[in-house]
């Protein structure tokens, strides 16, 4: 069972090494990438099944007992995150076959993508805070590389901002980590949970909590630390946008949830109160930015921000239902968001632009695409019975349970505004007649889109539909994850032994 925890990390790195050393033959690179993604997908899904059957599992790397060695842990939250990563990795790799140009393949697209996937899985599975830092760094390096691949003007501009703010967040993380180590003398997350209880000076710990909140807040894109995201996510190739949008901010959210459920839980009124305010403002600013946007991918980028608000809301309320809602939201959001980015790429292929004003008429010319867009877009907005509806319902219900009426109102209002900007895309891209001479735009500019693009989009849309129509098993998983998060002893026992 130990290999089960290591596989989601090892497989992508092995694939990265293989694709890096083999000749830069386009077909070979793409096919190897897809093969690696399929294997990784299988391993990730199997891990989720195993954890949902047998509960939390852990392994000590190199047989160094906790808290001295590096621990890998998979509880329900980690397993869900890894499984969704596997799903996204597979979808995006397949999509890349049609989208990524030979020049980018020669520049090492697949190795970098695989390293990104491996490091994201590493962040989800590690039980050691310094190890988490290292995975963050690996992930950053890979994402930097992917972000500026191709070196277009916009990419370099967005890339610089992305790099600068993320480097700063990294330093903050390292600072917090150093201070935490100075206070407790340990780096193992489970051991930290035990050690912080005995600290004499909880005020100092709250200060460290604030440093962590800022560092992870930058990565997650919560208010007021999100500005790098809409500045950069619309610049790289679509496949890269999709994987970054689907995964990276969620790693930040995951780290927040992990730290603020396992380690920083002694002054909930302060820390989680701060998170609650931040989550409300994040939702509002994000959705307003999206409502004002006029470029396909920039609207989607702003939506990531407002959606992160919902995820953090669940953590801030810190009740079983709220946390379950959060986890369910992440699960639904990652799939939907990556899919919307992928669809924006197809719309560009067909319409020749990302600008809403320049697109149009796709409903008439590409009916299937319209339906495939409709599912994730209105799931994001929270239309029943799609997946986003259940996620929002759980969170709003959780806020009402603890009498936080204001935040419940904000969450509902933001949902309405989300549907506004989704209908804007729907109206402009699909319903509006194509601009210019009617019909001229119907001729695809970059050639017709290939089935390799449609395949992952359909897969993700079907998944969204499945989560929406049969939410029960997914919600059960989320509830189980929430139960484990609220009872850290389960985690601690799994890592340290009874």
């Amino acid at each position: 069972m130990d290999w089960l925890l290591v596989l989601p990390i090892i497989l992508p790195f092995a694939a990265a090494a293989t694709t890096f050393t083999l000749p830069k033959n386009d077909r070979l690179q793409n096919n190897l990438g897809i093969l690696a993604a399929v294997l990784h997908f299988a391993a990730c899904i199997y891990l989720l099944f195993y954890v949902s059957e047998n509960g939390i599992i852990s392994t000590q790397i190199g047989d160094w007992p906790a808290p001295f060695g590096i621990t890998l842990v998979a509880d329900h939250l980690s397993a869900i995150m890894v499984a969704v990563t596997g799903i996204l990795s597979l979808s995006v790799t397949v999509y890349s076959k049609a989208e990524i140009s030979p020049a980018l393949l020669k520049a090492g697209y697949h190795p970098m993508l695989q390293i990104l996937i491996g490091s994201v899985c590493g962040s989800f599975l590690t039980g050691d805070i310094f190890n988490l830092f290292v995975w963050f760094e690996v992930m950053l390096m890979a994402s930097f590389g992917l972000m500026v691949m191709g070196q277009e003007k916009e990419q370099l501009d967005g890339g610089v901002k992305y790099v600068v703010i993320n480097l700063f967040a990294t330093l903050l993380f390292l600072t917090g980590l150093g201070l935490l180590y100075g206070m407790t003398g340990t780096l193992n997350l489970a051991d930290l949970h035990l050690k912080v209880r005995g600290l004499e000076n909880p005020g100092l710990l709250t200060a460290v909590a604030a440093i962590f909140m800022t560092a992870f807040g930058i990565k997650a894109g919560i208010f007021p630390l999100f500005f790098w995201l809409p500045a950069s996510y619309h610049t790289p190739p679509v496949a890269v946008s999709a994987i970054l949008a689907g995964l990276l901010t969620k790693v930040g959210v995951y780290a927040l949830i992990r730290m603020f459920s396992l380690v920083f839980t002694f002054e909930i009124a302060y820390t989680h109160g701060l998170l609650l305010v931040a989550s409300g403002l994040t939702m509002i600013t994000g959705v307003l930015g999206a409502a004002a946007g006029s470029e396909f991918r920039r609207i989607l980028s702003f939506h990531i921000i407002s959606q992160v608000g919902y995820m953090v809301l669940g953590l801030a309320l810190f009740t079983p239902l709220a946390l379950a809602g959060s986890v369910f939201y992440i699960l639904h959001h990652m799939i939907v968001k990556a899919n919307l980015f992928l669809i924006s790429g197809v719309a560009r292929r067909v319409g020749g632009s990302f600008e809403l004003a320049a697109l149009g008429g796709l409903y008439r010319s590409r009916g299937v695409l319209a339906i495939l867009f409709f599912i994730p877009a209105f799931s994001l907005a929270g239309f029943p019975p799609l997946s986003g509806f259940w996620a929002k319902l759980a969170l709003i219900q959780a806020s009402l349970e603890v009498k936080q009426y204001l935040i419940a109102g904000v969450a509902a209002g933001v949902g309405v505004l989300t549907s506004y900007s989704m209908t804007k895309i729907w109206g402009d891209v699909f319903w509006k007649p194509a601009p210019g001479t009617a019909g001229a735009q119907l001729i695809p500019e970059g050639g017709p889109y290939s089935p390799w693009m449609l395949l992952p989009i359909t897969f993700l849309a079907m998944l969204t539909l499945a989560i929406g129509l049969v939410p029960e098993p997914f919600f059960e998983l989320s509830t189980e994850a929430a139960r484990e998060l609220l009872d850290p002893d389960i985690y601690v026992n799994a890592v340290m032994g009874d």
Partner: protein, 128 residues
């Protein structure tokens, strides 16, 4: 020492923040290097400064006889230095390439990914 070093860290961090906020990419790099060093110093200080003996256990013994210097902070710092070295190399190349393509290192002038909104049209959309 343990009282001086935190103040030193604070001073270096203040200087580095100043540099980073200058709005010039070159100064940002200097600020980043400074801040990285300050954080490493901070980890070192947080790990307790003990001038004692090196962390070696005498032959035949299972545990050290007396208090030893803490080796872990140094391992952490070493890892952090290696990582920041790699990041720095990347950042140099990226900034140089941006300078070549964008023609500026002034962050205020870098508006290529987010052009100023066009205020003439209805919803701020521009025909392109």
């Amino acid at each position: 020492m343990e009282t001086i070093l935190p103040f030193l860290c604070g001073a270096i961090i203040a200087a580095s923040i100043y540099l980073m906020l200058e709005g010039n990419l070159i100064r940002f790099i200097f600020g980043f290097v400074l801040a990285g060093n300050a954080v490493n110093l901070l980890i070192f200080t947080a790990g307790r400064l003990t001038g004692a003996r090196p962390p070696l256990i005498p032959e035949g013994a299972e545990v050290p006889a007396a208090a030893l210097a803490n080796a872990l902070p140094q391992a952490l710092i070493l890892t952090a230095i290696v990582i920041s070295f790699a990041l720095l190399a990347f950042v140099f190349i990226l900034f140089y390439r941006s300078y070549e393509v964008l023609g500026t290192v002034d962050t205020e002038a870098m508006r290529f990914a987010e052009p100023e909104p066009d205020t003439s049209g209805g919803r701020g959309e521009k025909e392109k």
